[in-house]
Amino acid sequence: MSEIKIVNATGLACPQPVVLAKEAIEKNDQVKVVVDNETALENVKRLGTKLGCDVSVEAKADGIFEIILQRKAGAALPDVAVSCDASTPAGGPFVVACAEDKMGRGSDELGSVLMRSFLHTLVLQKEKPDVMIFYNSGVKLTVSGSETLDDLKELAAAGVEMLVCGTCLNYFEIKDQLAVGVVSNMYDIASTMSRAGRLLTP
């Protein structure tokens, strides 16, 4: 039995602690990872579990945690991707899908105000979606005269890609009024939704 390998991951932001822990456990049977925040703690613990290691945690003073990863004797490590749920989504884009021109059910009048508020707030947020998808009555948000147009244009100017369902524009007979985004189809919509790291439907 080799002696315990110590990885000091204090002061490092995700995914660094997970990367270092993974490298270490690939070469050693037992690794002690030292981290100084809850996010790194959770991510390293999750890595250990995924790799099939025994995981134990000891909380030290000043917010320091020591995580011991112990490989099961003779067991090969499965191939696990480094993931870091706290800040970055696992891989794919952050997608917001507007399926209606209203937010929630109960009152249409209120739902319309809520949707406008939601989109306005999205503009003010630091982390903006990568892609926004509009379908069914959601396409009404993107046409001229829509009260959400200013906010959507601002999002588009900030680099948010906007896919607007062509079938839906056609159904509501408002295709000629599209004022933001591009006319899209179910292939693009379905594939964007499928590869989304995070999919949010207001």
């Binding site: 105000v113 406008r116 200013d150 601002e154």
Partner: protein, 77 residues
Amino acid sequence: MSQSAPYFVMLFKAVSYALKAEKILKAQQVPHKLIPVPKEISSDCGICLRYELQHRCSVETSLLNQVMYEEIRILSH
């Protein structure tokens, strides 16, 4: 709509007042926007009415004696 030029927000006691104000302003074609109440202001109602400086007179005249509001603030962010 620029986020940096100063603008007014009118705060209401309840959402229904904000909706009523919007109806009146829409009918009279006075430019305005319903927005969530900015975080730094506390209000019972989550929605407020935003309007630009140059529309102050038309907005406030249109709503006079029509809709009760709590207060009007000028914001610039």
